[in-house]
Each structure stands twice: as structure tokens, then as C-alpha cells.
Amino acid sequence: MSPDVGRPEPVASPDRERWLAQVLIELAATMVGDFDLSEVLTTVGERCVELLGAADVGVVLIDEAGGHRLVAASNEARHLSELTALQDVDGPCRDVARHGSALVNAVLSAERWPRFAPVARRHGYKTVHGFPLRHRDAVIGGLCVLDRSGRTITDETATAVQTLADIAAIAMLHHRAAERTSRQAEQLQQALSSRVAIEQAKGILSERLGIDVAEAFEMMRTHARSHNQKLAEVSAAVIAGSLGAHQLGSRADRSSTRPHRDE
């Protein structure tokens, strides 16, 4: 399906149900298999533009410190990033996040948003709509719709846009969860591979020095402590041959603790 960016007229109401069903199917398809977050979010933005006949749509993420970041937009225009950054001070997404509910048909007034509104007006926008990206009771971001026509939207249309915003929120949360899992998998692999290396290094040292593996382990541990290194680093050095037996058995190492077996 090719994006139909900048469509001048909104989707007319008799066709809307069908249109919405198609969009939901399209989005569902992008969220399985090789999941690409930016593709899902960009599609959400583009379809909002189509639905509303609006000028531009930005998907904004709000971090824990209250910073606003544009993560996807219906087009590449530079001023969308600028307008997003301004919302750290004031703007529709900021308000939406604070109240947790959508903001529709808001006129861009400088009294309401002293920083955001004048810049938005300079780019030709007249009205703005904001929809929260919700996760349970928290708001993780907002969908910001900017319109040059000044056309108002109905409650029914607003509900449809909120559905798209909910999909964007699900996609973001799914992405975060996936990132966390692969980070955990990497940590586990690292922990396991260090374990293997420690055992191998024990064996190498015990054979070189004619001592048993418990003594070899104690030697590595003492060396790690007195040189402020991790056991994994010491093991890697023993395996690589860059840390010799004589260095490990040095007086500095021996004086700090006496060997004891505790495996």
C-alpha cells in the first residue's frame, strides 16, 4: 500500500469504517514478523493525515524528565522537530500528557502556548489536535496533528484517531520490551562465557604451576583484588597468555591473603 501523503480532503464518513478497518489490518501486519518500530509509527502518522486531511502529524515521545522527542512524522519537514522541542516549554502534547486526555480543535493561540503557538502559526498552521499515547494510567507520548485548513473534527473522528494513537503506543511498548529481552540475553551470554573462561583459566594455571584448581582460582582471585580487576579480565589474560604464572604468584599478590579453599 503506497502512502497517500498530504491528501487535501479528509476521508468522508460513509467510507470511514471501511478505511479504518483497512488501516488496522495494515498496521497489524506491520507489527508481526520483522517488526520495525519506525515503520509502524510512520504509517500511523501518514494514515492520520489521510483520515483528517490535516497538514502534518508527529508522533512524540515524552521521556521521564519531561523531554519531548519526535520519533516519527508524516513527512520529513525540519520544522516538525523544532515544534516538538518547543513543547518542553509549552504546547499541545505537553498538555495532553499532563491531563491524560485528548485535545481537539484547539486554536493556536499565543496566550495558551506562548512559545509553541507563534512558531506554529508562522508555518501556516491554524489548529492543532493532540492525542495521548497511553500505557495504563501513564502517558508515554502524544500524537500531534497540525492543520492549516482550520477544519474542525467530530468526536467520531477523534475516536478513530485515538485508536491509531493507541496502536502507536502498543508498538512503542512492544519495542521497548523486545529491547529489554535482547539486552538480558546478551548479559546472560556474557555471564556464561565469563564462567567458561574462568574454569579454563583455572585449568591452565594449575597445569603450569603444578597446583590444584582451587589454588589456581584463589591465585586469580587474589590477583584480581589486588589489581582492582574483574575475575573475568584476569581469566581472559591467563587464556591469552598475557598474564604469566610468575606475575600471578608475585609477592604483591601473595601478601594480601593466604590461600583458602572455598569452592
Partner: protein, 228 residues
């Protein structure tokens, strides 16, 4: 579906928690979930088995024999990153040496890689009971179990400090595999070869002397055995 029934994860962790469960206990709980079939769990990193446990001695023997010979359904699942099925692990032509080493009546095996987002962390191997046959329902159940076990293993608390931060689950199981890696270290010095070659030499010795890799490793570490 019964909405009030405990999830597979809840069943596996019932009465225990991530901080105290051992990998052996996890194997036995998996076994109970599969109506008594044998279950072996191994975790690997850098293509080396770091941790291995089984629910019972028989399953452990089948897994250890595979590790010794370097062939079998579990080895294939790990190397090829896909589920491997066999109706009779001792009579399958894919692993000719395995048949000689495993005696007794035929046993079906399902070996599933434990992986998430393209990162493989190990494998779950199920040794079916003597009367057990492989069917779609059973395989589906095992695949589901593998997904849940992957989630459990990944949610184990792994601390930043490797000395003691590794979860109990993994630490206890490391011990079983530790001597194999220690022995590889010893042999690499004695034979002036790489660690990978040392492991192959240990395996070859085990094969030639009809022992398990773990038995040869124990002889190297505890009894001063040196290969030649």
C-alpha cells in the same frame, strides 16, 4: 481455555522463586509438566556449553553421550538453530555413533533451541518415555515449554559481579560442567594446543576409552590423568 488455570510459567515456578530455584529443579518441574518425560537443559555461550542439568540420570546419560560424541539431536538443535525430532534416538542414521553408545529400547527425542530475537542461549531436550510417541500436540507443548523456560532463564537475576552475582539456578549447574572446562585448560597447556583442540582431544579420549567426557575430565582434574 480455562482462564483461571495457572500459566506454564506459574506451574514451573510454583512454591519457589527465581532467586532460589536451581536448574536441576527447573528440569524436574519441566519433566513433571511433560508427564514424566526426561528433560535436559543446557545453556551455552560462544558455542560452548556453560551449564547443563537433567531431570534424571537416564536423560543425563543421553545428553552426556551426545556431548562426548559431538553428535545427536541436541547438538544439531544448537548448531542449526532449529527444533530436531527423532522417533528413536539410538537408531537414527543421522547420528550413527550414538546408537552404539546408547543401549536399551528406542526413545523418541525432541530438542528445541532456546532463543529469543535471534540470540540463542541454549537448548531444551526432551527424552520421551518408553511408550511415548511424537505427535503434534506433544511437540506443540514442548515448544511452548521451551519459550517459557527461555523467559524464566532470561529473568534470572544476573548481577554485575561475576563472582557471586550469577543466579543460583546457573551457579549450581556450572559446577557440573566446570571440570570439563578446567580439563580443557590443563590439556591445552600440556599439549600446547588451543582450548578448542584440547576439548576435542578430551572428547576423542572419552570415545576411545568408552567413557563420558565428564568422566575423563574428572580423571584429568582429580586423578592427574594426562592424554598423550
Amino acid at each position: 481455555m480455562d482462564r483461571d488455570a495457572p500459566s506454564v510459567r506459574e506451574q514451573l515456578l510454583a512454591g519457589t522463586d527465581l532467586a532460589t530455584i536451581t536448574l536441576g529443579a527447573l528440569c524436574r518441574r519441566c519433566s513433571a509438566f511433560l508427564d514424566g518425560a526426561g528433560v535436559d537443559l543446557r545453556l551455552e555461550a560462544d558455542d560452548q556449553v556453560a551449564v547443563a542439568e537433567a531431570s534424571d540420570p537416564e536423560t543425563n546419560r543421553v545428553a552426556a553421550t551426545q556431548a562426548t560424541l559431538g553428535q545427536g539431536p541436541t547438538i544439531d538443535a544448537l548448531r542449526r538453530h532449529r527444533t530436531v525430532l527423532t522417533a528413536d534416538v539410538g537408531a537414527d542414521l543421522r547420528w550413527p555413533e550414538l546408537g552404539g553408545a546408547l543401549s536399551g529400547p528406542g526413545r523418541g527425542v525432541v530438542a528445541v533451541p532456546l532463543a529469543i530475537d535471534g540470540v540463542q542461549i541454549g537448548a531444551l531436550t526432551v527424552l520421551l518415555g518408553r511408550s511415548g510417541t511424537i505427535d503434534g500436540v506433544r511437540v506443540t507443548r514442548i515448544m511452548h515449554l521451551a519459550t517459557v523456560v527461555t523467559g524464566i532463564v532470561l529473568s534470572l537475576p544476573i548481577g554485575g559481579k561475576l563472582d557471586d552475582g550469577l543466579a543460583t539456578t546457573i551457579s549450581t549447574a556450572v559446577a557440573g560442567q566446570a571440570q570439563i572446562h578446567q580439563a580443557a585448560g590443563v590439556v591445552s597447556v600440556h599439549e600446547a594446543c588451543s582450548l578448542a583442540e584440547a576439548l576435542l582431544k578430551l572428547r576423542a579420549h572419552a570415545y576411545a576409552s568408552e567413557q563420558l567426557l565428564s568422566e575423563v575430565a574428572r580423571a584429568v582434574i582429580d586423578d592427574g590423568l594426562r592424554l598423550r
